[in-house]
């Protein structure tokens, strides 16, 4: 007779078993893996850029100062404290000009750009929320006219690369008398010279950013307005509460999460915007960073670190103001009794107002882009006063060689320009890959976090996945530029896809998390009882149920990648993707090329959006615009 002796397992064995049990659940294993991957891809670039702030850069001021001053020798030949010291406490430079103004290094390179960056971010938030929020309310909760048309047109500025509106602004409002140079359309056609503050600086930058991000506010706030339980407002009405009070006490608190999420996202996006301040003449952290890369590379990296600190700050604010199910696109439950506010005659007036404003922000740019591609010289609108003959040309489209002088600065026409089409292909590769990777990882993050709501690790993964989106794009771009240069993958699709994926995972993770939270655990549990493997539960149950949200998680990174410049501008040479090439043409003043590309880009985005909408029901403004 044999005797089986049961030995007490060792503490190590117990721990191992515990880990094994924990990891045998797919959501836990995936969460662990994602946590590690996201930590590396998010934190490593930040550490790298921090290191860059104390590195010596050959041919720049830190190398010169480090070499001649014993003060900075403590860190050795390759590292220096000069950049930090100089940027914050740099010796004052006195300008003995007409006004004898005292200037310091810190004021020139840091404080003034920082103040401008913060101001444009605040104004962009206020502007986008007011414009986008009011529009969202009118479209979802009133009997405004032309809802479907306005809803479609309203998101155009978000589809277009952001600096195109800045170029339009210049073309419209610049004048010889005020800004110098030639007259824009307003001055030449209407004879109106807009004042300097209107043409360049804080005001136009804020307005253009607000217009660009208003669709963002519209989509986020509109989603809540649409799903809001009308019973709450109706109860207030029954209790004879004035309409304004109902709005302030009932409606506004309900959309507060969406307003907060708009503020957080727009603030960081506006702060990291490079092209709009660049074209409209405002010194911000982003423009200063680019300018300082000539001889103050290390100090420029400090600006990037400061932008990143804002990202952290926003993350903390986000944590404080939202939690659990209150996160972002919170749905408070659907009411079958949604009633529309009757605007009376206001429905015509307000729709006219929005037709006009969207005409400026959505339709006019497209018309001007189209016209620009047929002008004989960039910005030369001779045909308006002298007729079409001899004052319009197809050379920007049809020139098939670049040896003889054709008045297009040695370029091939758009249809024959292999750079343009190759860059377009590059953009599609980056956008598709980013969408697939970011969409998949984001969906998994959403799924795993929803399954481990109380886990601290899940909270960490959720935050680390969301952090890059709260970082200004330029800061993320700078971090990946430094990483890419160190790893030898500069100007590769790999680097762009890596940066794009990390930056856009939040689109998918937020969308996925919100939808997964709404999903009852019983649905999956029923499948678990029947011993259905995890992948089949995902493919056959979870994904089909939340198809629309998950596809949105793929669609948003795709759309955003198509028109992204700031994130990618430092990571590749200009002809790898279409937005960097467009920016190059704009810088060169070859607006016909950039306008033509813009038109093509807008068409592609609209076609993709429509296609996905038809196939899956998901779309950028689906479910809001009066549908």
């Amino acid at each position: 007779m044999s005797v089986t002796v049961l030995r007490k397992p060792s503490a190590f064995r117990k721990k191992l078993n515990k880990i094994w049990t924990y990891l045998s659940k797919p959501q836990n294993f995936i969460l662990l893996m994602l946590g590690i991957i996201l930590t590396v891809t998010t934190v490593y670039p930040m550490v790298t850029i921090l290191k860059d702030t104390v590195s010596v850069h050959p041919g720049t001021v830190d190398a010169a100062e480090d070499a001649k001053s014993a003060q900075f020798e403590v860190l050795g030949d390759d590292y220096t404290t000069f950049n930090w010291t100089d940027l914050f406490t740099g010796v004052n430079i006195t300008r003995h000009g007409r006004q004898r103004i005292e200037l310091s290094v810190a004021k020139t390179y840091l404080w003034t750009p920082l103040l401008n960056s913060v101001l444009i971010s605040i104004f962009a938030c206020v502007g986008s929320i007011l414009y986008g929020g009011i529009f969202a309310y009118l479209v979802t909760r009133t009997n405004l006219k032309l809802k479907k048309y306005l809803s479609s047109i309203f998101i155009f500025p978000y589809i277009m690369p952001q600096w195109t509106l800045a170029i339009i602004w210049r073309n419209l409002f610049f004048s010889n008398a005020v800004t110098g140079g030639s007259d824009g359309l307003f001055a030449s056609v209407l004879g109106v010279n807009m004042p300097q503050w209107w043409c360049e600086g804080l005001f136009p930058v804020s307005v253009v950013l607000a217009l660009h991000y208003a669709p963002f506010a519209y989509i986020l706030i509109g989603g809540i307005f649409r799903n809001m339980d009308a019973n709450l407002e109706e109860a207030a009405t029954i209790l004879n509460t004035p309409r304004w009070k109902t709005f302030l006490r009932v409606t506004l608190p309900l959309v507060k999460p969406a307003i907060l999420s708009t503020i957080l996202l727009v603030f960081s996006s506006a702060m990291g915007s490079y092209p709009i301040p660049h074209y409209l003449g405002l010194s911000t952290l982003s423009t200063q960073y680019v300018g300082m890369r000539i001889d103050r590379v290390g100090e420029a990296s400090i600006l990037a670190v400061i932008m990143m600190l804002f990202g952290f700050l926003i993350l903390i604010v986000n944590q404080k103001t939202t939690s659990g199910r209150k996160n972002f696109t919170t749905v408070t439950g659907k009411s079958g009794q949604s009633s529309l506010v009757n605007l009376g005659v206001g429905k015509y007036i307000l729709s006219t107002v929005f037709v006009l404003t969207t005409l400026f922000s959505g339709i006019l740019p497209i018309i001007l882009f189209a016209i620009e591609t047929f002008l004989p010289n960039p910005g030369d609108y001779s045909f308006l006063t002298n007729g079409i003959a001899g004052h319009l040309t197809t050379k920007w489209w049809l020139t098939a060689e670049n040896v003889s002088e054709n008045g297009i600065y040695g370029q091939f026409g758009i249809l024959y320009n292999s750079d343009i089409w190759r860059a377009f292909g590059g953009t599609m590769i980056v956008a598709v890959c980013c969408a697939l990777v970011a969409g998949t990882i984001g969906t998994l993050v959403g799924y795993c976090v929803s399954k481990n709501r109380r886990s601290k690790w899940a909270g960490y993964v959720n935050n680390v996945a969301f952090l890059p989106y709260l970082m200004p794009s330029l800061a993320v771009g700078i971090a990946f530029f430094v990483v890419g240069s160190n790893l030898g993958i500069f100007n590769t699709f790999l680097l762009l896809i890596l940066a794009g994926t990390v930056k856009y995972i939040p689109f998918a993770s937020r969308s996925s998390l919100n939808s997964m939270m709404q999903l009852s655990g019983e649905i999956e549990e029923a499948a678990i009882i029947q011993d259905i493997p995890w992948w089949r539960r995902m493919v056959q149950i979870i994904i089909p149920i939340q198809k629309s949200s998950i596809i949105s998680g793929y669609l948003l990174p795709f759309m955003t990648c198509l028109r992204e410049l700031t994130l990618f501008m430092l990571l590749c040479r200009q002809d790898l993707i279409i937005t960097t090439l467009m920016d190059y043409f704009d810088e060169m003043g070859l607006y016909a090329f950039s306008s033509g590309i813009n038109l093509i880009l807008i068409v592609v985005i609209l076609v993709c959006n429509t296609l996905v909408n038809k196939l899956t029901g998901a779309s950028l403004d689906a479910g809001i615009g009066g549908k």
């Binding site: 430079i93 200037l103 110098g180 030639s182 007259d183 910005g379 297009i408 240069s485 060169m588």
Partner: protein, 429 residues
Amino acid sequence: MKKLLALALVFVLTMSLLPIAMADESVADIIAQAQTMTNEELYKKAIEESKGKTFNAVGNSSRGKSVLPLFIEELQKIDPSYTLEFSWQQPKNNNIFAQLDADVNSANHEISMTLIQDGNQIQSKMLDTGYLLNFVPKEWAEAEDVAKENNENPLALQTLNKVFMFNNLGDKTYTNMWDFVADGEAPLFMGVNSEPVGKNFLYMMTSEKYSNWAKEAYEAWDGKNEEYDALIEDMKLDVKDLGLTAENANYGLTWVLLWCDQYNQETDDGPICNTLVTKSAAGQTGLLVYSKLRSIEETAESSVNNITVAAYQDGYTGIGGYAYKHYVMLTKTSPLPWTACALIAFMTTTSEGFYAWGKDMGGYAPVAACMQDHSQDGYVDGVNTYDAKNDRGYDWWLNDGQLVVEDPAYCASVSGKMSAWIDGIVAGK
């Protein structure tokens, strides 16, 4: 067994390091060999090396894109089946240095050669670090009538000029360099941190030779007054703070101060030119690349005749603009070094190779045989129709036109302090 393992390890290590050592030496070796070869021999080497491959280059001039098809045609005369895909890019905002740096330090080297400007940065960031290597073609070194001084190391493809122009439809006249910085003027100019050769020009204005020119022009200026006198006197303090040593540096520095305070920043010379030629830009001024005039299409609104090149006027006093150079060099990690050498030889020693630059005014090759005459570019059917396009040539510009010529050594010596001084003024506008 252990010995065998150790030997194998040493072998593997040696083999893995060998390509790195070879790669570093091979480009320099190839250059050394290439410098002894004729153009035709180089072309044959290029065919051998790059047939059917892709050639990548970056340059501060977009015209490199135009020369590559001609280069391929030249090679096809030797081997009709020769093909070459190419990418020629013109990075903006000083990105060319970052791109070269990144490419040289990348595991995947793509850039074979560069056409680059800004002597100041080239010296400190590219030559001192060994990232770029100089190649002087045999036929260039042995050519007749070649201006070798300041053009050989690094090898200059051309000297370019940026010149003062103004729209002549207004009532204003600009007959002195100080007119461009007089009260109320806002000359169009590329941002100093967008194109650093502009900043180099400003540094050069404080050197002995050019600050003397600034003083002479000021003395002859009809806008001279007590206020400017006081300002010039006051600037002696800045001269001292900035460590400038030229006797009349305060004149040059005053001009720089006024220029920085007043210039109207544009993203490129292209938009400046497109603006200046229009009717509505009456009375506007600019400092821009002369050759940009080539691409203007005559319309009711825009005309080259709306432009006057300031230095072409009789009685104009002071500098007419500034000159800087385009250098051609190989990256030390050039993946196609023979092709790069052959292309550089083609560009710098033949009129076909220089055609992309030589066909228009404003670019001057060191080898006289490469140059074309542009003194009558503004003639249409024998009639002088667009006078601004009639280029008076390199010698005229250097002497009569009083171009300020970039000196990398001087720029490097003053840029440390002057750069922040200029940035401060521009930021404080």
